[in-house]
C-alpha cells in the first residue's frame, strides 16, 4: 500500500514527492515579517513563567517566593517521565508563585512563577556535554529532558519521550515547513542559524540512528532551503527537500504522507511507519542544550500583522508578557476596532484573553491583524452541503457530516465519521461559503465526547466499586450463615447426646417416683392394716364410734398423698415431653 524505503529514497533524490488530499492556499503574508534579522529585545522587568508548558504533567516546584535565582536555574523538577522542567529566563527574585493568565484559548489562570529581573542576567554554571558523539544515548536524552525541551512546532510534546525510541527508524524528518501564513520564525531561524540546527540534527542522528534524514522546507522559503542545503551538504544521508507550498503541509501526518506516501495509523504514531519528526526550532534547542549546556529559556517569535507598524522576528524569553512584544512591534491601535491578538497563525492560532499572556515554548507568533485584514467572523449561514470543506480536508473527512452531527449532538455518529481524526487545521472553515466556524463545533463535540468518556469511566468505576461491595457483603453473609450452621449443628449434636441423658433421667426419675410411690403405697397399706388391727383393738377397747372417723381421716390423708405423688409424676412427664417437642421444633426450623 505504501512506498518502501528504496522507492522513497529514489523519489526524494530527485525531489519528487507525494501529495496529501485537499489543502488550501491562503495568502502567505510571510514577507511582512521575514525581511530582517531576528532581533534581541531588552530585558523585561517581570517574567511570568507557567509551570506547565507542554503536553503532560507539570514538574515539582523547586523555588519559593523570595528566592534569589539565576538565569537558567531550574524552577521545577521533572519527576515523572511525562514532565518537563521550566527554567528561569533571567536572574532575579521569585516575586510570587501564583495563578496567572495562561497561554491557552480559555486563558484560565495556571500556576506560574513570577520573576522580578535584577537586570544582571547572570547565568548559572552551564555544563555542556564536551563531546556528544562519545556520550551515552540515555545521558543525552536526560540532558534534553533537563533542558526543558518540548516540541516547538505547536503541540509541545516532550522531546525526550519522542527521542527515547527503540523501534526501527527509517526517516528522521526535520520539519521546516512552517505552512501557516504570516509566521516566519522558523524561516528566519533556518536562514540565520542553519549550522546550529544541523548540530541539533547531528545529535538526534547520534541518538536515534535513522537510515535517512529528511529536512523538509516549503518552496516559499528559498533562502532557508539554500542555507539548510549548505549546512547539510557534507552529510550524504541528509536530504533537504523542497515541498510545494500548500496548507497544512507542515502538519505531522501530512508531511509524513508528502515525503513517504505513508499514513500514520489513526491510533498510532509516526514511528509506526518508520518516521520521527522534529521541528527545526526544537533541533536548535537540542544543540543549545547539549553543546552549550543551555536550557530552553527563549525562542524566536514572529510579531506580525498589519496592526503592527514594524513587524519582525524577535528572540523572546519564555515568560515575556505579550504586551511588551506589542510595544516592540509598534502596535497601532487605530487599525483595530477592538483589540485582537492572536497567538500562533491565522489558521490555528487562538485569540489571547489578556495582554499579560506569557510567551511559552510553543508560541511561535503574535499576530495582530488589522480589521480589514482578517475581518471579524460574521454570523454563520445554513450549510448548503456544497462540500467545499470535504474537498479541502487533508484527512479526507466529511466535514459537513461532522458539522451536522456535532451541532445536533449526535456524538456517536460524529465519532463514527472519525471526528477524532480531525487535526483542526481549519481548512474547512476557511473555505466554507456559509462562514460556519466548523472547527469550533468539532472542538466542542470532542470536548463533549471526552467529558462523556470521563463520566463513563467514573460511573464504570462506581459500578465496579458497587459490585465489589455487593460481592463482599454476599461473602460475609455466607460466612455468617456457615458459622451459624456449624454452631447449630454442634448444638444439635450435643443436644442429641444431652437429649438421651435427659430421657434417661426422666425415665429414671419416673422410675424413682414410681418406686417411691409403690414403696409409699405399700408402707401406707401396711400401716393401715396395722392400724386397723390396732384400731380394731382400740375400738374394741374403747368404743367403735370414735374409732371410725379417725380411721376414715387417716385413709383420706393417705389418699391425698398418693394423689399428690401422681400429679407430680404427670407434671414431670409433661415437662419432659415438652422439652422433647421443643427440641424437635428447633431441629425442624434449622433444617
Amino acid at each position: 500500500m505504501f512506498a518502501n524505503y528504496d522507492q522513497i529514497i529514489e523519489r526524494l533524490s530527485v525531489n519528487q514527492l507525494w501529495d496529501f488530499p485537499g489543502g488550501v492556499h491562503p495568502p502567505q503574508q510571510k514577507s511582512l515579517s521575514n525581511k530582517s534579522n531576528i532581533e534581541f529585545i531588552p530585558l523585561e522587568p517581570t517574567y511570568y513563567v507557567p509551570v506547565k508548558q507542554h503536553i503532560g504533567v507539570e514538574g515539582k516546584l523547586l523555588v519559593a517566593e523570595g528566592d534569589r535565582i539565576l538565569k537558567g536555574q531550574l524552577l521545577t523538577a521533572s519527576e515523572s517521565p511525562f514532565s518537563v522542567p521550566v527554567h528561569a529566563p533571567t536572574s532575579g527574585i521569585v516575586a510570587k508563585i501564583t495563578r496567572h493568565v495562561s497561554a491557552h484559548p480559555s486563558g484560565i489562570p495556571e500556576l506560574s512563577v513570577i520573576i522580578d529581573a535584577d537586570g544582571q542576567d547572570t547565568w548559572i554554571e552551564l555544563k555542556p556535554v564536551p563531546d556528544y558523539a562519545k556520550a551515552d544515548k540515555s545521558e543525552l536524552i536526560e540532558r534534553i529532558c533537563d533542558a526543558g525541551i518540548s516540541g516547538m512546532g505547536g503541540a509541545g510534546f516532550p522531546t525526550h519521550i519522542k527521542t527515547n525510541n527503540s523501534k526501527p527508524l527509517e526517516f528522521l524528518i526535520i520539519n521546516g515547513i512552517e505552512c501557516e501564513p504570516y509566521i516566519s520564525s522558523d524561516d528566519r531561524l533556518m536562514r540565520e542559524h542553519a549550522w546550529q540546527i544541523r548540530q541539533g540534527i547531528d545529535i538526534l542522528v547520534h541518538i536515534l540512528k535513522p537510515k535517512q534524514v529528511i529536512i523538509a522546507v516549503e518552496d516559499n522559503k528559498p533562502e532557508a532551503l539554500e542555507t539548510m542545503s549548505i549546512a547539510c551538504q557534507q552529510k550524504t544521508n541528509y536530504q533537504v527537500v523542497n515541498v510545494p507550498t500548500k496548507y497544512p503541509a507542515g502538519g505531522e501526518k501530512q508531511l509524513v504522507q508528502v515525503l513517504t506516501s505513508r499514513e500514520v495509523p489513526s491510533d498510532g504514531l509516526p514511528i509506526d511507519v518508520g518516521c520521527i519528526m522534529y521541528n527545526v526550532a526544537t533541533c536548535y534547542a537540542i544543540a543549545d542544550a547539549i553543546v552549550e549546556g543551555k536550557p530552553l529559556i527563549e525562542r524566536v517569535v514572529t510579531l506580525t500583522g498589519r496592526g503592527l507598524k514594524s513587524p519582525k522576528n524577535v528572540w523572546a524569553r519564555l515568560g515575556t508578557p505579550i504586551q511588551s512584544l506589542l510595544l516592540h512591534g509598534n502596535y497601532d491601535a487605530s487599525t483595530q476596532s477592538s483589540p485582537r491578538f492572536i497567538m500562533g497563525g491565522p489558521m490555528m492560532g487562538f485569540t489571547v484573553t489578556s495582554v499579560l499572556t506569557p510567551i511559552v515554548k510553543i508560541s511561535n507568533c503574535i499576530l495582530v491583524p488589522a480589521d480589514n485584514e482578517l475581518p471579524h467572523p460574521e454570523d454563520e449561514r445554513a450549510c448548503i452541503r456544497c462540500s467545499a470543506c470535504s474537498d479541502v480536508c487533508p484527512a479526507s473527512l466529511l466535514p459537513q457530516q461532522l458539522f451536522w452531527y456535532s451541532k445536533s449532538k449526535e456524538l456517536e455518529k460524529a465519532e463514527e465519521y472519525n471526528l477524532f481524526d480531525c487535526i483542526e487545521c481549519g481548512a474547512c472553515a476557511y473555505v466554507c461559503p456559509s462562514e460556519i466556524p466548523l472547527v469550533h463545533y468539532y472542538r466542542q463535540a470532542k470536548a463533549d465526547i471526552r467529558n462523556q468518556r470521563e463520566e463513563k469511566e467514573k460511573s464504570d468505576k462506581a459500578k465496579i466499586r458497587f459490585e465489589v461491595r455487593t460481592a463482599r457483603l454476599q461473602k460475609e453473609k455466607e460466612a455468617r450463615e456457615e458459622k451459624y450452621r456449624l454452631a447449630s449443628e454442634a448444638r444439635k449434636a450435643s443436644m442429641n447426646k444431652d437429649g438421651g441423658n435427659a430421657k434417661d433421667k426422666i425415665a429414671a426419675a419416673l422410675a424413682r417416683a414410681k418406686a417411691k410411690k409403690e414403696a409409699f403405697a405399700k408402707e401406707a397399706e401396711n400401716a393401715q392394716s396395722a392400724e386397723n388391727i390396732k384400731k380394731k383393738e382400740s375400738v374394741s377397747e374403747l368404743s367403735d364410734s370414735f374409732a371410725l372417723p379417725k380411721t376414715k381421716l387417716v385413709a383420706v390423708d393417705e389418699d391425698a398423698a398418693a394423689k399428690k405423688e401422681r400429679v407430680a409424676a404427670a407434671v414431670a412427664k409433661a415437662k419432659a415431653k415438652k422439652v422433647a417437642a421443643d427440641e424437635a421444633k428447633k431441629e425442624n426450623k434449622e433444617l
Partner: protein, 357 residues
C-alpha cells in the same frame, strides 16, 4: 484588564460566500437565456421576472413568519436561483399563474417547509416543475417553434400580453403561435421524435421535419451550447465540480450510443439526446444543486451517472418526451444512501469511515 476581542480559529476566511456562489451561478445562465430570447422570443424574460418576484416575496414572508433575518436570507440568492431555473424550464408563453404557482410551491413547500436552505431533500425547481407538468399538462407543453420558422412572430409586448391574457396584442392565441411556416403545429424536437416513433416512423424520418436541422432542433442546439458555455465557466471558477455534469453526460451518451448502435431507427443518436431538451442545463445547473446532490466525490459520480441513465430510459420508454426533472428527483431520494456508502477513507484508516470503528 482590557477586554480583548476573542474568536475561534481559523481567523482567516476566503471571501466567497454563499450569496456570491449563488449569484455567479445566476450569471452563468445569461448566455443560455440570451440564446433562448434570440430563438424563441422574449417570453422567457417575463417568466424569469415573475418567478424572481414570487420567490422573493414568498421567501421574505416565510422568513418573517419564522422570525429569521429576512434580509440576510434573501441575500443568499438561493431563492432567486431556484426561481430562475424553474423559469427557464417552462414554456416561455405559459400563463402567468403557472410560474407563480410553481415558484410558490418551490420556495414554500419544497424548500421552506423542509427547513429552508440546506435542509430540502429535493431540488426545489425540479419538484415544482414536476408538480406543474402533472397539474397543468397543456400549459406546460405549449412550447413555441423557433421564431425563424414560426408563422406568427411576436414582440416583447406580445409576449407580456400573452403571458397575462393568453393572447397577443393582435389577438393570436398560444395555439396559433405554435403553428410553423408549413402550417402544422410545432412541438419540441424530443416530442416530435417521440410522436413520430409512436406512429411508426423511424428517427431519421422524424428528423426531416422543418424544426430539425440535421439531428438537432433548430435553435435548441444553440441554446444548449450557450448553457454549456455557462456551465464550463462554473467549472473553471470552481463553483461546481466536474463530477456530476461529467458523469451525467457520459452515462447518457453511453447508454444512448449503445441503443443507437443496436437500432438506429428506433433510438436517436447520443448527440440528439445531449443537445435537444434540457440535458445540458440539467447537467450543469440543476443536478449540481449542492443541497440536494451527493456530497462525496464518488457519490457525485454515481449521482450524475444515474441521472444520465434515467433521462435516457425515460425519454426512450417513458411517457414523457424529456425527463431531467424526474431523473433528478429520483436520484435526490437516493442521496443519503449514496453518501453513506461512498464515504472516503480517512487518513490513517484502513477502511471506509463508518465500517472500521
Amino acid at each position: 484588564m482590557t477586554m480583548l476581542s476573542l474568536s475561534s480559529s481559523p481567523h482567516h476566511h476566503n471571501r466567497r460566500d454563499t450569496g456570491q456562489v449563488m449569484r455567479i451561478v445566476c450569471y452563468a445562465t445569461i448566455p443560455g437565456i440570451l440564446a433562448n430570447i434570440w430563438f424563441f422570443g422574449f417570453g422567457i424574460l417575463i417568466q424569469i421576472a415573475l418567478a424572481i418576484i414570487t420567490a422573493l416575496v414568498t421567501e421574505g414572508v416565510i422568513m418573517e413568519l419564522r422570525q429569521k433575518k429576512t434580509e440576510r436570507v434573501l441575500k443568499d440568492y438561493s431563492a432567486v436561483l431556484a426561481a430562475l431555473l424553474l423559469a427557464v424550464s417552462i414554456p416561455p408563453l405559459a400563463p402567468w399563474w403557472v410560474i407563480v404557482i410553481g415558484t410558490f410551491f418551490a420556495i414554500a413547500i419544497v424548500k421552506q417547509l423542509y427547513g429552508g436552505l440546506g435542509y430540502n431533500m429535493f431540488n426545489p425547481a425540479m419538484a415544482a416543475y414536476v408538480m406543474l407538468l402533472i397539474s397543468f399538462p397543456i400549459q406546460m407543453t405549449s412550447w413555441l417553434p423557433p421564431l425563424s420558422i414560426a408563422e406568427q412572430s411576436h414582440t416583447l409586448w406580445d409576449a407580456i400580453h400573452t403571458v397575462f391574457t393568453g393572447f397577443t396584442s393582435t389577438g393570436f392565441s398560444v395555439e396559433q403561435l405554435k403553428v410553423g411556416v408549413d402550417g402544422t403545429t410545432m412541438a419540441t424536437p424530443l416530442d416530435e421524435v417521440k410522436t413520430a416513433l409512436l406512429q411508426g416512423y423511424t428517427v431519421t424520418e422524424a428528423t426531416t421535419r422543418i424544426i430539425f436541422d440535421g439531428a438537432y432542433g433548430k435553435g435548441w442546439l444553440w441554446v444548449s451550447l450557450a448553457y454549456l458555455l455557462g456551465g464550463l465557466f462554473l467549472i473553471k471558477n470552481k463553483i461546481i465540480s466536474w463530477h456530476i455534469p461529467g458523469s451525467m453526460l457520459a452515462s447518457a451518451a453511453l447508454l444512448s450510443l449503445s441503443l443507437f448502435l443496436i437500432d438506429g431507427d428506433q433510438y436517436a443518436s447520443p448527440l440528439f439526446h445531449i443537445f435537444n431538451g434540457s440535458l445540458i442545463i440539467g447537467a450543469f445547473f440543476i443536478a449540481t444543486d449542492p443541497v440536494s446532490a451527493s456530497t462525496t466525490v464518488k457519490g457525485r459520480l454515481i449521482f450524475g451517472a444515474a441521472i444520465g441513465l434515467w433521462v435516457i430510459i425515460i425519454r426512450n420508454w417513458g411517457g414523457y418526451p424529456d425527463a431531467i426533472a424526474f431523473a433528478v428527483l429520483i436520484m435526490n431520494m437516493a442521496v443519503p444512501l449514496i453518501d453513506y456508502y461512498t464515504q472516503p477513507r480517512t487518513y490513517g484508516h484502513k477502511n471506509k469511515a463508518s465500517k472500521d470503528s
